[in-house]
């Protein structure tokens, strides 16, 4: 049960090897977290992450699921909540696939996979989590979107459009749970230097996984509906969303 400061004791991380997701869990482990379920695809990477958490006295359970298979969402939710065996204070949705825009451009298969991993599977899982948390009468959902969702661009439009779907779904989900004891928090990071983006040159206002984690944990504790990382991007994108296409096209990053 989370405390008066909003510090959770139990959590499920979908995207169990996500750098940002694990950075969030890392911060929670320094407070009240005692049990986390890591849901992901890569067994050895998940076990490594679990061992690191066990060493910090947090019970970590691994559940295997493949986000490229939309039909696996129901099982993933059931297994994750079952593994926790107690009310879940916080669900973290950190699944994402940046893709390779040049390769995705002309590939129906790759494009379909991008939308399954970035949109369909996370949305299906969140629908399952919604039911479980509303039945609990309490709980928080934290969804990692991206500023790429605010306006798609040539360099990563398949990823951006996928996040756009998840972003909009999450905002509607937040409205749907008002008054149930469940709250939803959406994080829109800018360019984050992680393994997912290691091959790219950082865009302006780039940030790091621990910095995004700080924003995310603060949003959960304070109950902020939508947070940006870094915070200034809220205002930067207020402008960028309305730039004429000719200018938008020429921006760096």
């Amino acid at each position: 049960m989370r405390d008066a400061f909003g510090q959770p004791q139990t959590a499920i991380l979908f995207g169990g090897t996500s750098e940002i997701g694990l950075a969030i869990v890392d911060r929670l482990a320094a407070a009240r977290l005692r049990h986390v379920v890591l849901v992901g695809r890569n067994p050895s990477a998940l076990e490594d992450a679990a061992s690191a958490l066990q060493a910090r006295s947090v019970t970590a359970t691994v559940v295997l699921a493949d986000a490229a298979d939309a039909a696996s969402a129901t099982d993933a939710v059931d297994q994750a909540f079952g593994a926790l065996g107690a009310p879940c204070d916080l669900v973290i949705m950190a699944v994402g696939l940046l893709g390779d825009q040049a390769a995705d451009d002309d590939s129906p298969e790759r494009t379909a996979t991008m939308f399954v991993v970035n949109t369909a599977w996370p949305a299906a899982v969140l629908a399952g989590c919604r039911a479980a948390l509303v039945a609990q009468g309490t709980g928080q959902i934290l969804v990692l979107s991206s500023v790429a969702a605010l306006r798609t661009r040539r360099a990563n439009y398949t990823y951006g459009a996928g996040k756009q779907g998840l972003d909009g779904f999450t905002l509607g989900l937040a409205e749907s749970v008002r008054g149930t004891g469940v709250t939803v928090h959406l994080i829109r990071p800018g360019f984050v230097t992680t393994k997912m983006t290691g091959h790219l040159s950082p865009a302006p206002f780039s940030t790091t996984a621990p910095a995004v984690a700080e924003v995310a944990v603060t949003a959960v504790m304070k109950g902020t509906p939508v947070a940006y990382a870094p915070g200034i991007l809220r205002y930067v994108f207020l402008v960028l969303r309305h730039l004429p296409s000719a200018l938008w096209r020429k921006l760096p990053g």
Partner: protein, 438 residues
């Protein structure tokens, strides 16, 4: 924190027993009084909270023993309206009248007279308890283990439906009060050690925002019920709130500046020494009840209470705690300092001989959770404890250290509730009932 639960409103003991039976609702059951808890002891997310307002009967007072039998849903406010005209006062009252008899037992509340009269359970003769294994009346002689586990047991040993308590006969509704002002914490504590035994009621309000030579300056008020010739005869009813806070204050209204200014004004306003002043019961015992919805002053994020007790041998801990709060720049309102007399047998009953300090802390400063975690470590190491009735954030790792008889509590709770139907968000957060045994 807002959570969702079902609400049950049983009107008979049988209906209540059904709620706790194997065919009752799942996901936990906990009793609820007036919903004024600082934390989560009367919440059970996804479960069922039991409203006991139907259990509202009040018996006649036994003239010989001063005993009265009161429904668990009756508030101290209602009870006082009933008994003050008869010349009686409640044996123990907290700083508000908005507490039910059931809640008073569940938290084993204390008042300004703990050093003389003990806690609420000291005045309970018997209680009617509905548990998942049956309905029973428990006393100090009839199932003493269950009696004492229920005193301070946070509602986790069953649901009290009525209790017989012993009232205090009084000659007037006024209180004779000595007020003294002290320049720092050492002086406040010395005055209390020196003279508290001469008063039935004693409490000090301490400023936690000053440091150096005036660290912990405070105002000590001590008194007793006035004899009939000093006050009005005991027919006056305490008045309700005279002022109200109309809406939630904006976040940050209570900050370091405003609280420092308030504490300064409050200290200056107190007399250096005023002996034999006459105050009403409301003014002396229930100052918060004079301002309706005072909690709104704290804004939408609210506040947490932090109340700890430490033994006399660790009295220096009180100063250390205040120094740490002042140094951390976390704003805190006036703190309440009291001496406790001997504790009772209740494994989860809070009071133990020594000192207790209660702090109101606005939620918001990012450093606050860690500052309180550090204080938990300090209090636990000093052989002290945190008051569960006010807690909303204790580090669960300290629960067994702070309450050494926790294992006894768990054994008794499991005896009357083997299927663990009784639980609360406080229980879930602190794992009060402990790991399940196979």
């Amino acid at each position: 924190m807002a959570v969702q639960a079902e609400r049950a409103t049983p009107s008979t003991t049988d209906e209540l027993a059904d709620l706790l039976s194997p065919t009752g609702p799942g996901h936990g059951v906990i009793a609820r009084g007036l919903g004024r808890s600082y934390g989560d002891p009367a919440q059970v997310a996804g479960g069922t909270v039991v409203d006991l307002s139907a259990f509202s009967a009040i018996s006649a007072v036994d003239e010989r023993t001063h005993a009265i039998t009161v429904g668990a849903g009756v508030s101290i406010d209602t009870l006082l309206h009933h008994i003050l005209p008869l010349g009686y006062f409640v044996p123990v009252t907290p700083g508000t009248r908005q507490v039910t008899i059931g809640g008073a037992i569940a938290a084993d509340i204390h008042g300004k007279n703990h050093h003389v009269d003990g806690s609420f359970a000291s005045h309970v003769v018997s209680m009617d308890l509905v548990t998942p294994v049956g309905v029973m009346t428990v006393t100090r002689d009839r199932d003493p283990e269950l009696f004492w586990a229920t005193a301070g047991g946070m509602g986790l040993t069953g649901i009290v439906t009525a209790a017989t308590i012993t009232l205090l006969p009084i000659a007037s509704t006024m209180v004779s009060v000595d007020t003294t002002r002290h320049r720092n914490l050492d002086e406040v504590m010395a005055a209390m050690v020196d003279g508290d035994h001469r008063y039935r009621y004693s409490v000090a309000w301490v400023d936690c925002m000053t440091s150096g030579a005036t660290m912990g300056r405070g105002v000590l008020t001590r008194g007793d019920h006035a004899p009939a010739d000093r006050g009005r005869p005991p027919t006056t009813i305490p008045t309700g709130a005279s002022v109200a806070v109309p809406f939630n204050a904006p976040p940050g209204l209570l900050n370091r500046l405003s609280i420092t200014a308030f504490n300064e004004a409050w200290f200056r306003a107190a007399p250096k020494e005023r002996l034999g002043g006459i105050e009403s019961i409301s003014t002396f015992f229930h100052p918060l009840d004079g301002v309706a919805n005072w909690n709104r002053l704290y804004g939408p994020r609210g506040f947490v209470q932090y109340q700890f007790a430490v033994p006399d041998a660790a009295s220096a801990t009180v100063a250390t705690a205040i120094e740490r709060l002042a140094a951390s720049k976390v704003p805190s309102f006036l703190a309440v300092l009291k001496r406790f007399g001997a504790g009772n047998r209740g494994p989860l009953s809070f009071p133990t001989a020594g000192w207790t300090l209660a702090l109101d802390l606005p939620v918001g400063p990012p450093a606050l959770p860690a500052v309180l975690d550090d204080l938990d470590d300090l209090i636990a190491a000093a052989g002290g404890r945190i008051y569960l009735a006010k807690d909303a954030r204790l580090n669960p790792a300290h629960l067994e250290t702070m309450y050494p008889a926790l294992a006894e509590f768990r054994r008794v709770a499991d005896r009357v509730d083997p299927e663990r139907r009784l639980t609360s968000d406080l229980d879930r957060r602190l794992n009060v009932r402990g790991p399940r045994h196979a």
